[in-house]
């Protein structure tokens, strides 16, 4: 299905024994992995496995307890400001303002990433054209169907051409067809050299990723391409792989 990243050389996310403790509880335990430029990296795990904690550390929202990581070449301890300038983020809750119009949302998020008026104008036109939302441009985002909102939300997250975009369960609640359309946007972005770091629960979605990591109880249990993972666990589908791995989990999701 998905082909590997064209350039395996440049590492944009590098973690080494990255750990986060909350008291006695180790949410993320010594995770080590590399993500390459333009790669679509799937970050899988059951609820409570430590995905969100790991992602928050990578985004510079939470300081690690130990270990090291660089995002786009910047250190997660000292250079969080530079990290924030180079990443985009789309949360699992819908991340646009429903009481603002499509254009106002684009203008606002472009504005806080410091885009100039000229850039904003170009980007806005280009984006609306690309998403085919010309007649909806002046409508409140709240009135759009969920699938459109999510596509818009993703486009806004990469408006400032970040090196990496973090997607936290981006396609919750939409049907497979809409999900497929959403992934077309992700492939586009990946082809432009933007690295995609995505968490998901949907195994059909997992198949779209270049590489997958499977997290269980705060530890990365497996990391490979979907094809290799299936081979490794002699499974027919990602569902089986996931089940095989998550069966041993001690933590229960909340």
């Amino acid at each position: 299905m998905a082909t590997g990243p064209s350039n395996m050389g440049e590492v944009v996310i590098k973690t080494d024994k990255l750990t986060k403790r909350f008291g006695d509880f180790i949410a993320t335990n010594e995770i080590t992995f590399d993500v390459y430029k333009g790669e679509i990296f799937g970050f899988l795990g059951a609820n409570g496995a430590g995905k969100t904690t790991a992602m928050r550390m990578l985004c510079g929202l939470s300081t690690p307890s130990s270990g090291s990581a660089t995002i786009a070449g910047f250190d997660v301890y000292k250079e969080t400001e530079s990290i924030k300038k180079n990443i985009g983020y789309m949360s699992q809750k819908f991340s646009l303002y429903e009481d603002l119009t499509v254009i106002e949302n684009i203008t606002f998020f472009g504005g806080i990433y410091g885009l100039s008026d000229k850039q904003l104008k170009e980007k806005t036109e280009q984006l609306i054209e690309q998403l085919g939302m010309k007649s909806e441009a002046k409508k409140l985002v709240g009135s759009l169907p969920l699938g459109w909102k999510q596509k818009l939300s993703f486009s806004v997250a990469i408006l400032h051409e970040p090196k990496i975009v973090f997607l936290d369960e981006p396609t919750g609640g939409v049907d497979p067809v809409t999900r497929r359309q959403f992934w077309d946007l992700i492939y586009d972005a990946s082809a432009r050299g933007i690295t995609i770091f995505v968490t998901t629960h949907y195994m059909d979605e997992a198949e779209y990723c270049n590489r997958l990591s499977m997290m269980v109880d705060g530890v990365i249990k497996a990391l490979d391409t979907p094809t290799n993972l299936k081979k490794q666990f002699s499974a027919d589908s990602m569902d089986q792989v996931f089940f095989e791995l998550a069966r041993g989990a001690k933590r229960k999701g909340d």
Binding site: K84, K93, L96, D99, L100, E104, F108, G111, I112, F166
Partner: protein, 368 residues
């Protein structure tokens, strides 16, 4: 700077597109001012009273004339005997009776002492005591008239069946209290709800991941509400001066400055509340409950603080609106300048700074 403007503009969109917010922001003050100013005022107009004049002399006639000319009373009839008074009260329309004993003027001139009897329908004790105090004032007024200079040689004592209510209040006392109440409620509620809404919808995370500094997120959230509160204040002031005939004797600039301090205090309080909850409902509940009752109780415009037990008086000292109420009364009614209210101003500023520091600290902790 550009980021800053984008943010403030977005915040205004939120306010103007949400009818609930708008209603809260501008409807509430208008309703409260109208309620407190007109409906709940305890100035009583056109009360029907009866007069029983056994004296029918010069002095009694002049006092009756005075009563007649005020807006407060409307003399229903002149009666002849005590029995008739009783009947008049039973009808329920008559709120008060004034009785001049025979030889009223003679007593006044020769013994320098005379009595007027006032009987009030105390089934509504507040109305009764207020009306009685009006009569007292009129009699007092007459007494001063007949002895224009020096201590009065003539003394008219009004013998009342009511206890005089010393804290006679009108719209002039309510308005500063309502101003404090509205600013506290609206500012605290607006900020806490608007921040919690971003948390609830998940947009706060997106903002925190952006290069925009978390402190600026908070500051830019506060600015629109600060400006809107000032507009709100203007509306309240215009309403009170033009509709409620509230005096404005002091400096407008000073009042706005003092109000800004209170608004900042409230915005900080709102931020503090938003840190401790994740849902709009509970933010609203905490803001309303946490503000409404203490502000109503301890500001001093509904219940005089001096009459409260010491413990409650201490509690009142930590309520910002208590100090603001004193300040507004001093500026608007007494026309005093900063020299007389620097102490209250200092206390209020101290509260603002303290709350700002605490809420920013807590906001930082939450981020870590």
């Amino acid at each position: 700077m550009k980021q800053f403007i984008s943010f403030v503009r977005k915040e205004f969109y939120h306010v103007f597109r949400d009818s609930k917010t708008l209603l809260m922001l501008f409807g509430l003050p208008i309703v409260l001012i109208t309620l407190f100013g007109f409906a709940l005022t305890n100035e009583i107009k056109n009360s029907k009273i009866v007069v029983c004049d056994y004296a029918k002399d010069d002095a009694s006639q002049r006092i009756i004339d005075k009563i007649q000319t005020t807006e407060n009373f409307q003399i229903e009839k002149a009666l002849m005997s005590h029995r008739q008074i009783e009947e008049a009260f039973k009808s329920g329309i008559i709120k008060l009776a004034v009785i001049f004993p025979a030889n009223f003027n003679n007593d006044l001139l020769h013994t320098n002492q005379a009595q007027v009897q006032v009987i009030a329908d105390a089934s509504d004790p507040n109305t009764a005591s207020t009306l009685t105090s009006y009569i007292n004032n009129i009699v007092q007024d007459y007494q001063n008239e007949i002895s224009p200079s020096g201590p009065a040689p003539y003394q008219i004592t009004t013998e009342t069946r009511m206890i005089y209510n010393p804290a006679l209040k009108g719209a002039t006392n309510f308005v500063p209290g309502v101003m404090a109440l509205i600013l506290m409620l609206v500012c605290v509620l607006m900020t806490s709800v608007s921040i919690v809404r971003e948390k609830e919808k998940g947009t706060m995370e997106v903002l925190l991941v952006s290069p925009f500094s978390p402190f600026l997120v908070i500051v830019t959230k506060a600015i629109p509400y600060f400006l809107l509160s000032l507009i709100n204040l203007t509306v309240i002031l215009l309403m009170s001066v033009f509709f409620l005939e509230m005096p404005f004797n002091g400096s407008v600039l000073l009042l706005y400055l003092e109000s800004s301090i209170l608004i900042i205090t409230c915005l900080a309080l709102g931020l503090l509340i938003s840190n401790s909850t994740d849902s709009q409902q509970s933010a609203m509940l905490i803001s309303l409950m946490g503000m409404l009752i203490p502000v109503m109780m301890f500001t001093g415009f509904l219940f005089p603080l001096e009459n409260m037990p010491m413990v409650l008086q201490w509690i009142a000292n930590i309520i910002p609106s208590k100090w603001y109420y004193i300040i507004v009364k001093s500026i608007m009614i007494k026309g005093l300048g900063i020299a007389s209210i620097w102490k209250e101003t200092l206390i209020l500023t101290g509260m603002a700074i303290f709350l700002l520091i605490v809420s920013f600290k807590r906001f930082k902790i939450r981020l870590a």
